[in-house]
């Protein structure tokens, strides 16, 4: 049985909406609203959902780049929320993040050697300058960039190469968990595959655990072991990836899967086209949050919130239809 590396219990993150001259809080954006899941050591958990569903906020709150409103995050059994500043710095050696935009997440005034070397400095992992240099060289080689790139600046690289630098920076401190927040969505199709392959290689080589956040279901399916689907701040379904893609039980997952255009003109899919847009997370619908768009909603759905339960073999979902 694999060990749980990361455990998230009842995590909530509300952002205050302020108005008026004295900036009184008038409402809250419930970006993440009571979600629980765990990630086993060495596995990849995919977190998917449309824009505004709270998947990125989840990633950031776990790392305490954002402070949670409520809930618990356990990393190797340690409560991340209770840590003080220096303990937090220490634990971040083990938890790193890769961002979506390879253009915005690298400091344009720093050379690649300094970008990748900075985490080594912060965590005092290099004995001296020469050691630091050697380490940086080794990390860059691990992500497929030669030592000749060390003294170049981010603008000299293509998008795919920049994302490799972002991966190298995360890798520098030899972490256990990497939270990858849409790491390939800004890249061209032909380059996406390079970065996905790279991440898989590194996982094998260094025994990494990934929380892979993305909106592209086919990429998530490819890289993940298990997949969690989010809608308006909640996880609506979570299962082993094969199970989830073959046998989705939540109506939202079903329509999401049917909406993906597939690169096969012969295949005419039975599409479940959802009506309307995702409602605002400021004042989310009562009961089940999906009931305003759900093709199968019935009287109970707008009133009572469905429970997130295991429907066998670790296939979790939150839907009243399943309880019938």
């Amino acid at each position: 049985m694999a060990e749980k590396l990361l455990e998230v219990n009842n995590l909530k993150k509300y952002f205050p909406v302020k108005a008026g001259i004295i900036k009184r809080t008038v409402a809250h954006v419930k970006a993440v609203d009571d979600i629980s899941f765990y990630v086993n050591e060495g596995e990849t958990l995919g977190l998917v959902g449309e824009s505004g569903c709270g998947k990125s906020t989840t990633g950031r709150t776990i790392l305490r780049l954002l402070e949670a409103t409520a809930g618990e995050v356990l990393f190797e059994g340690r409560d991340v929320m209770a840590l003080n500043k220096s303990q937090l710095r220490e634990i971040r050696r083990d938890m790193q993040i890769i961002f979506q935009d390879p253009y915005a997440s690298l400091n344009p005034r720093m050379t690649v050697a300094d970008i990748v070397g900075e985490p080594l400095d912060i965590h005092k992992l290099a004995k001296n300058k020469k050691d630091r240099n050697n380490k940086v060289k080794e990390i860059l080689e691990n992500v497929g960039l030669g030592a000749e790139y060390m003294n170049r600046y981010p603008h000299e690289f293509s998008g795919g190469q920049r994302q490799r630098i972002g991966v190298a920076r995360a890798l520098a401190v030899d972490p256990k968990l990497i939270i990858a927040d849409e790491p390939v969505s800004a890249l061209d199709v032909s380059v996406q595959a390079q970065v996905v392959n790279l991440m898989q290689d590194l996982q094998k080589e260094f025994g990494l655990t990934y929380l892979f956040i993305a909106h592209d279901l086919s990429v998530v399916k490819h890289i993940s072991d298990r997949v969690a689907v989010m809608y308006l701040g909640k996880i609506v379904e979570l299962a082993d990836k094969r199970e989830l893609f073959k046998n989705p039980i939540h109506p939202y997952t079903q329509s999401l899967l049917s909406a993906i255009p597939e690169a096969d003109p012969k295949k005419k899919k039975d599409r479940i086209i959802l009506k309307g847009d995702v409602p605002s997370p400021v004042d989310p619908p009562s009961g089940c949050r999906f009931h305003t768009r759900c093709p199968k909603a019935f009287d109970k759905c707008p009133i009572i919130e469905p429970e997130f339960k295991d429907y066998g073999n670790g296939h979790y979902a939150a839907c009243h239809l399943l309880e019938e």
């Binding site: 449309e50 824009s51 691990n142 992500v143 497929g144 293509s158 998008g159 795919g160 190469q161 061209d188 199709v189 032909s190 380059v191 996406q192 595959a193 390079q194 996905v196 392959n197 790279l198 898989q200 290689d201 590194l202 909106h215 279901l217 086919s218 990429v219 399916k221 490819h222 094969r242 893609f245 329509s255 999401l256 899967l257 049917s258 909406a259 993906i260 255009p261 597939e262 690169a263 096969d264 003109p265 012969k266 599409r271 086209i273 959802l274 847009d277 995702v278």
Partner: protein, 343 residues
């Protein structure tokens, strides 16, 4: 095909004269569109697919851009020869366009009703009141609920999907014969994308217009196109009907693209990645422009650029080595590496 061509683009070249040098964004593009059909144009960023469409609409900023050579025949009229005034009559009337980012394409200080009505009044010579009535009608056609109310709203009051519907309403308000859609669903979520694609398909059937669909997403291409032009580095490198393209891609680049995306219905351990990245348009290689990334490239590929040649009836490809790819495919082998960090 005996049908009359609606659009015929011949050897189109659009260059940008920048301080760093001449950017040959579109460098000899040929294709045609028949009435009522959808031509998919697919390629990665910088391949010239958007500049091609802007050239047709004559929306390339000049300077620095310039249509250097070629013809754009629309209903047997060469658009490149028309005056700006004549072009204005065609733009928005016979040919309309929708863009990727609906928020930046709509004017934030006018109501959406005003903006649709403006397009109608410009081309149809009707009074404002009638134009407004038609605007409401158009919003209804694109599936916007409560259109009478929505015409009075401003773009920021609408969601991304709704804004794209407004753009489509505006584009269709003068019954164009050709709709150019430049990545119309890229900024939208999957469930909203499905709504918009369905809307476009149903409107196309209803009004019989032709669509030029520009996208980087092979899934969208498979979904909506009748024929497809694959672009790379300013040129069309493969051109055929959609079924043939997906069944029997003949260019190593097309083949690579299709194998580098994960499939929902098939599990592979690793993706086949095309190595390297798209060359800078300031610094294209000699010979075939794909030679820097092509595993099949050899002698001739580095010296002479291949033509877009019809190798099977209705299937054109720009490659010296397509027969080699054929053999490899028959042997069931892959041409791109799927291993190693250097991928």
């Amino acid at each position: 095909m005996s049908k009359e061509k609606l659009v015929e683009v011949k050897n189109l070249k659009t260059y940008f004269y920048t301080e760093e040098g001449v950017v040959k964004a579109v460098d000899g593009v040929d294709f045609e569109i028949y009435p009522g059909e959808t031509l998919g144009v697919v390629g990665e960023s910088g391949c010239g697919k958007s500049v091609t469409s802007l050239s047709i609409m004559r929306l390339v900023e000049s300077p620095p851009g310039k249509i250097e050579a070629g013809e754009i025949n629309f209903k047997n009229k060469d658009l490149t020869k028309l005056s700006n005034k004549e072009m204005r009559k065609i733009r928005g009337n016979d040919i309309s366009m929708i863009f990727q980012e609906p928020m930046t394409s709509l004017n934030p200080v006018y109501t959406i009703g005003d903006q649709i009505a403006e397009a109608i009044m410009l081309h149809k010579k009707v009074k404002r009141k009638e134009a407004m009535r038609q605007a409401v009608e158009m919003l209804k056609k694109v599936g916007i609920p409560l259109p009478e109310q929505r015409v009075k709203e401003y773009p920021h009051q609408l969601s991304g999907g709704m804004r794209q519907r407004v753009m489509i309403a505006m584009a269709l308000s003068c019954d164009p014969q050709l709709l150019i859609a430049d990545e119309p669903t890229t900024a939208l979520d999957v469930t909203i994308q499905a709504q918009i694609l369905e809307l476009m398909n149903s409107l196309k059937e209803k009004y019989g217009m032709a669509i030029m669909m520009i996208t980087h997403d092979l899934g969208v291409i498979a979904e909506v196109s009748d024929r497809v032009a694959v672009m790379y580095a300013g040129k069309v490198i493969e051109y055929t009907d959609v079924d043939t393209l997906f069944e029997d891609p003949k260019h190593p680049y097309t083949w690579g693209l299709m194998n580098s995306i994960p499939k929902l219905d098939r599990d592979v351990d690793r993706l086949e990645a095309i190595p390297g990245s798209v060359p800078s348009p300031l610094n294209f290689p000699d010979g075939c422009k794909f030679n820097t990334r092509c595993p099949l490239a050899e002698g001739k590929c580095y010296e002479v650029e291949p033509d877009l040649e019809e190798v099977v009836k209705g299937h054109k490809v720009r490659c010296w080595r397509y027969k080699e790819l054929e053999k490899i495919k028959q042997r069931g082998e892959r041409i791109y590496s799927n291993g190693g960090v250097l991928g």
